[in-house]
Symmetry: D4
Subunit: 219 residues, 8 copies
C-alpha cells in the first residue's frame, strides 16, 4: 500500500466529504469523521491495516467550491501538517451554474477552477508525501446531460493537474458510471449528488484502489 505506517491523511472537500463531521476539526472520538466516504476509508484502513496506525482527519465543509478551499487552505490543510492530503472539489463549482443560474457571482468557471486548484496543489506538494485528487462527479448516466457534460470537463481538469504533478488521481465519475450500468441514479442519490451509503462506499473503494491496497487485508 502506498500509505506508510504512521501516515496522517487530511481529507478536504465539500458536503460529500463533510457529511456531518465534527467542527472545527473533524477528528476525535466517535462520529468526528462524519458518516460518508471519509469515515468508510478510515474504517476500512483501521480494520484492514490496524498495524499501520493511519490517522484520518476530515476537513470537508458543505457547499464549498475551490474558491472556498483556497481561503481556508492554510489553516485547514497546511497547518495540520499532513503527510498525505486528499481533495474532492468541484461539484458546487458546477452545480451553482445549473441550480441558481442567475447568481453568476456564485459560479466558479472552469478557468478559475483550474488555476485555483493547480495553485493549491503546487503550494502543497513540497510539504507532503502524497496528494490524492478525486474528480468531482454527477450521478447521471446520460453524458449529453448539460450538467454531466460540464462535470466531465471539470473532472478532466483534475486529471490533468494530477498528471502534471504526479498526484494520485481517483476517477469517482468512472466508478459511479460502472454502478449506473446496474441501477438507476435515483437509487444512489435522489439529487444525483449526495450519495447513499452505497454511493459513499463506491467512492471509498475507488480511493483505496488508487492507494494500491492489499485485497486480502482490506476485506
Amino acid at each position: 500500500m502506498l500509505l506508510e505506517h504512521g501516515t496522517k491523511l487530511v481529507m478536504i472537500g465539500d458536503s460529500i466529504t463533510d457529511c456531518g463531521r465534527k467542527h472545527p476539526v473533524g477528528e476525535g472520538l466517535f462520529d468526528a469523521l462524519g458518516h460518508g466516504y471519509v469515515s468508510l476509508v478510515n474504517a476500512l484502513l483501521a480494520s484492514g491495516y490496524p498495524d499501520y496506525r493511519i490517522r484520518v482527519v476530515n476537513m470537508g465543509i458543505g457547499g464549498n467550491t475551490v474558491r472556498d478551499l483556497q481561503e481556508r487552505w492554510q489553516s485547514d490543510v497546511l497547518e495540520l501538517e499532513p503527510d498525505w492530503v486528499s481533495v474532492m472539489i468541484g461539484i458546487n463549482d458546477v452545480w451553482r451554474q445549473f441550480d441558481q443560474p442567475l447568481m453568476r457571482e456564485s459560479h466558479v468557471m472552469i478557468k478559475e477552477y483550474e488555476v485555483t486548484l493547480r495553485e493549491l496543489v503546487e503550494r502543497t506538494l513540497p510539504h507532503v508525501k502524497g496528494l490524492i485528487l478525486l474528480s468531482p462527479f454527477y450521478i447521471e448516466s446520460n453524458r449529453q446531460d448539460a450538467m454531466r457534460s460540464m462535470m466531465d470537463e471539470y473532472g478532466d481538469v483534475v486529471r490533468r493537474i494530477a498528471e502534471d504533478n504526479n498526484c494520485l488521481f481517483v476517477d469517482t465519475q468512472a466508478a459511479f458510471d460502472s454502478a449506473l450500468k446496474h441501477v438507476y441514479s435515483a437509487s444512489i442519490a435522489l439529487d444525483r449528488v449526495h450519495p447513499s451509503q452505497t454511493g459513499h462506499m463506491i467512492i471509498a473503494r475507488a480511493l483505496l484502489r488508487a492507494l494500491e491496497f492489499d485485497y486480502v487485508r482490506v476485506i
Copy 2:
C-alpha cells in the same frame, strides 16, 4: 459467493444490528438500514455485486435477547419470506447478568439461550436457502474477564448450533480479538459493546468472508 442473484437477506439481532434502522421494517429509502454493520454489508454488496441485486432487510431491535427474538420470530423473520437469514444475539443475554445482577428475571442463562436459539434455527431452516449465525462478542482482550469468559461460552453455543445444522458461522469475537492486538478496546467501543464505525466494519468483513465473496469485486 454463496448468496445467489436476487437473494433476500433478513438480518436480525439487538442494538448492534438495529443501529438506528427504520421501524417497523428496516428497509426502504435512505437510512432505513441504520448505520451499523447491516448498512455496511449492504453497501459492500451493492457496490461490489450490483448485478446480484441482493436485498437486505434489517430487523434488529435494541436490548433484545434471544427470548425477545423468539417472541417476534414469526412476524419479523418468517413472514418476510427471506432466502437467507443472519442472526447475531446473546450480548444482552450475558450483559444483564453483569450490569443488573440483582434483576434475575432479566437474565437469559446459557441453557435457555441454547434451547431457544436452537429452536429458532430448526424452525427456520426448512424455509430458507441459508442461515448465518454470528457469535455474540465482548470487545475485551482479557479472556479471564468474567463477562468475556461467559460471552465465549455463549459464543461456543452458537458455534455448536451452527455446526449441528450446517449453518454458516461468523466468529465476530475472533475478529475483534485480532483488532485488539493492535488497539485498546476503548478505541473501538467505550462500553466494550457498541462499536465505532471501524468496529462495525470488522463485523461486516467477517460476515462477508464467511459468504466467500470475491476480493476483487468487493473492493
Copy 3:
C-alpha cells in the same frame, strides 16, 4: 371558465399535491391548503374570480400511489361530495421502481396503474360535474432517460383514460418540458420530482389553461 359559480373542487394526489396541507382534511383557515400548486390554483381563482366563490379542498398525501388512492377514495373523495375532482397520481408508482428497485411489492406496474385509475374515474364520473386528470411528470429533459421514458408511458395512460371518459387532461410533463428549454432541471427540482414555487406555478398555470380561464381575470 369551465368551473361554475359555487363549485367545490377536491384535488387529490401525492406529495406534490399535499405539500404541507392540513390533515385529515385540507381545508379551513390559513395554510390548510399547503403551499404547492393547490394553494396557487386557489389563490389565482380566488383573486381572479372572487365572485365565483370556488371552494378548493386539498386531499393529497405524500408517497401515495394509485393503489393508496383507491383505498381512501370513498372517504377522501366521494364522501366530500365534490362538484369537480382533480387527480395527479403516478409519480411514486414509477419512482419506487427506480429508487428501491428490489422492493418489488412497492412497485405499481403500468397494468395495475391503468386498471385502478380507470376504475376510480368511472366510479366517480356519475357523481361529479367534471374530472381533471393531470399527468404525472419527471422534470428531466432527456426523454431516453429510463425513468422519464416510463413516466411518459404512465402519462399516456392518463391521457387515454381522460379521452375515453371525456375528462379534462392536463399535460404537466409538456408544461415542464417547455420550461426545460430555458433552464436546467436542478433549478426547478433538486430531485427532478419536488418542484420549487416556480415549478408549482407551472402546474397551476397548466391546470387553469385546461379550465379555459379568462386571461384578463386571472392576471
Copy 4:
C-alpha cells in the same frame, strides 16, 4: 413587458415582503425568497418569461418603517446593484400609531414618511433602470375607519412621489378594495395586514399589471 432580459430586481419592504425569506440576503436555493408576493412574482415571471432570466432578490424585513429602510438602504439596495427596485413600505409607519398609541417614538408621521421616501427614491433613480413604488394598504373596506383613512393618506404620498419621479406606481389598496367587494377582510387577513396566499397573489398580480406583462405568457 417593461423589465428587460437579464434584469436584476431587488424588492424591499416590511414583513409582507419578507415573509420568511433567507437572511441576510433573500436569494439562493429553495425558499430563499420567502413565501409571499415576492416569491409569487418570481414564480410567475420565471414560469411565464423563462427566457428573460429575471433575477429577483427579496430584501424585506418584518416590522420595518421607512426610517428603517433609510438606515439600510446603502447596504441592502444600492450595494446589490439592482437594475430595478420595488419598495412597499408604510404599513408599520401607520400601524404603530394605532396599536401602540402611547409609544410616540415608534410612530413615523406623514411628513417624515414623505421626506424619507422621497429622498430614497431620488438617491436611487440615477443608478437604476426602473423603480416600482407599491402603496401600503389596510385590508378594511370602510374608508372612514381611522387607520384605513390614514393609510390612504400615506398611499397618496407614495402615488405623488411616483408621479413626481416617473416611477411605476402599484395601487395595492385599490387591488384589495376590489377583492373586498366579494369577501370580508377576515378571509384575506385576520389582522387586516398579513395576507393569505390569495392576498399575496392580489399584490403580485397588481405588480405584474403595472409591469405591462403579456397575458398569454404569464398565464
Copy 5:
C-alpha cells in the same frame, strides 16, 4: 354581591374563555384557569372577597360554537354540579361565516344559535342558583361593518334569552364600545377578537358589575 359564600362558578365558552386553561378540567394549582378574563374574575373575587371562598372552574375550549357546547354540556357543565354558570359563546358561530365563507357546514346560523342556546339555558336553570349570559363581541367600532352587524344580532339573541329566563346579561360588546371611544381596536386585539390583558379586564369588569359587587371590596 349576588354570588353567595361557597359558590361554585363554572365558566364555559370558546378560546376567549379557554385562554390556555388546564385540560380536561380548568381547575387546580397555578395556571389551571388560563390567563384570560376567567383568571381575572377569579383573582378579583379571591383578593376582594377572600371570605366568600368562591370556586371558579374554566371550561372554555378554543374554536367552539354553540353547537360544540351542546355536545359537551352534560359532561362539562351539568356533571360538575355548579351553583352558577357563565356562558360566552357565538364569536365563532359568526366568524366562520366571514373568514371561511365557503365552508357552509361550519357556519352556525342565527336560528340554530338561538334554539341551541335557549335549550342549554332551559336545561340548566333547574339545577343552578344563577346563570350569566355574556354577549359575544367584535372589537370593531363601525357598527355597519358586516361582521360587527351580524355579531350585534347574535348579541341581541343572547339578551332576549337572558330576559326570557331571568338570567344575568353581560353586554361585553357595549363594554368594548366604550373602550373604542378612546383607542383604536388594534391596540386591544390585532384580529378584533382575541383581546390583550386590557381587553380581558374589560370583560372581567363588566361581568363583576353584573354581579353587583361592592366597589370598595373589589378594589
Copy 6:
C-alpha cells in the same frame, strides 16, 4: 387620581415585577409587560382610565437586589425619562441570606440596602413627578418566622425612605397579611415569594389604592 393625563410610569424591581416581560425594554405589543402585577396595573388603568393614556413600562429583572438596580438605574430608569417611577426591591436581598446562607457575598445587608435605595430615590426625585415605593414582602403569616421578621425590617426601611422623601408608600406586606387571614400561604405562593394571579392582583390593588384611584372608574 394622582397620575396625570399622559403620564409615563416606569416600574422596576425583581422577578415579581419582571414576570416574563419583554427584554431589554418591557413595552410594546402584546405580552411585553409580562403577566404579573405590572400587567394588571396597566390593564386596570387602561380599562378604567382609557382617557388618561397612561404609559406603563416594565423594567423588572428576576433575581435582582437593590445592588443590581443601582448598576442599571441610569440606563433602565433615568434614560427612559419617566414621569413616575415605582420600585419594589428587597426580596432577594433578604432571601439569599436564608436560601444560600454560606454565600455571604450574595447577601445585601440592611445597611447597604438602606443606603443604596435612599441614594436611588434622592437621585431620581428631581427628575420625576412622583415616586412609588412598594415594600418587599414574604407571604408567611408567622411574624416570628426568621425570614418574615427580617423582611419586615427591610420593609420598615422602605417606609422610612418614603416618608423622608414624600414618596408614595405601598405596604404590600400588609396587603398579603389581610389575605392570609382567610387562606394559607401555599394557596397564594408555593415558595411564599412568587404569587399566583390572585397574589399579583393583591399587589396591583394596593398600588392603585395608593394612587387614590376612583372606585367607580377602576371597576
Copy 7:
C-alpha cells in the same frame, strides 16, 4: 443490619419518593431509581453492604395520596413480591387542604388517611419480612403553623399504625427539625416540601438508622 442478604425492598410514596424514577417500574440501568432518597439509600447500601446484594425498587408517583396508593397497591407492591416495603405518604393528603382549599374532593381527611393506611399495612404484613413506615413531613420550624400542625397529626397516625403493627417507624419530621436548628427551611426546600440533595440525604440517613446499619460499613 435488619435487612438480610438478598432482600428485595420496594419503596413507594409520592413525588419525594418518585423524583424522576423510571416508569412503570423504577428499576434497571442507570437513573432508574430517580435522584432522591431512594437512590441515596440504594447507593449507601450498595457501597457499604455490597455483599448483601440488596435490590431496591422505586414505586413512587408524584402527587399521590394514600387514596392513590390504595388503588395501585396490588400491582405496584404486592405483585412485585417484595421482602421489605417502605411507605412515605401523606404530604399531598395534607397539602391539598392548604394549596387548593376549595377543591374539597381532593382532600384526604385524617380519618380516611388512617383507615386506608392501616388497611394497606395489615394487608401487606402477612406477605413480607418487614415494613417501614416513614412519617410525612413539612420543612417548617414553626409547629403552630397550620399546615405543620396538621402534618404532625398525620405523622402521629403513622407512628401509631407502626406501633400497633410492629413496623419500623422513621420520623422524617424529627430529622428535618434537627436540621432546622441550623438552617432556615428555604435552604432545604423552597416550597418546604421538595428537598434539595441535602434534604434527601437527611431522609436516607434517618431510614438507614432505623434499619440499624453498621456505622463503619455505611461510611
Copy 8:
C-alpha cells in the same frame, strides 16, 4: 473532623467532578453542585455537620486533563480564595492514549502530568489550610489491563506528590477495587469511567474517611 467550622472547599477535576454543575461557578441554588460525588460530599457534610457551615464549590469541567487545570487554576481555584482544595485529575490524561491513540497531541504523558500537578500543588499550598489529592481511577478489576496499569502509575504519582507535600491522599482506585470484589465493573460504570450514583458514593465515602469524619455524625 479535619475541616474547620466555616471552611470553603473548592473541588476541581474533570467530568466525574463536573457532573452537570452550574457554570461558570458551581455554587448557588439547587443543582448548582451537579449530581456526582461533589453533591454527595456536600449533602453528607450539610446533613451530618450542619453546625460546621462548610461551603462547597464545584469547579470540575468535563474532558479536562491536568494541562487544562493549569490554564484555569488562577481563575478557577486561587481567585475563589478557598480554605481547602480537592483535586481529582488524570483520567483523561490516560484515557486519550487509549481511545484516540493516534492523536498524540491530546495525550498527557506521565512526566508532564507529574510536573504539572506538582507545580499546581506547590503553588497552592501557601494559600490554603489543606489540600486533598484524589487518585484517578479506572473501574476495571484486571490490574494487567493496559489502561488500568497505566492509571495505577498515574495514581502512584498522585500519592507521591501528596506524601511529599503533606496533602491528604484519597485512593479512589482502592475504593473501587473493594467494590469490584462484589460486582462486575459494568454495574458501576458502563465505560469503566463514569460511575453510577453508587460509584459516586464510593468516592464520596473515601473522601470523607480521609477527612476523619465522625461516623455517628455523618450517618
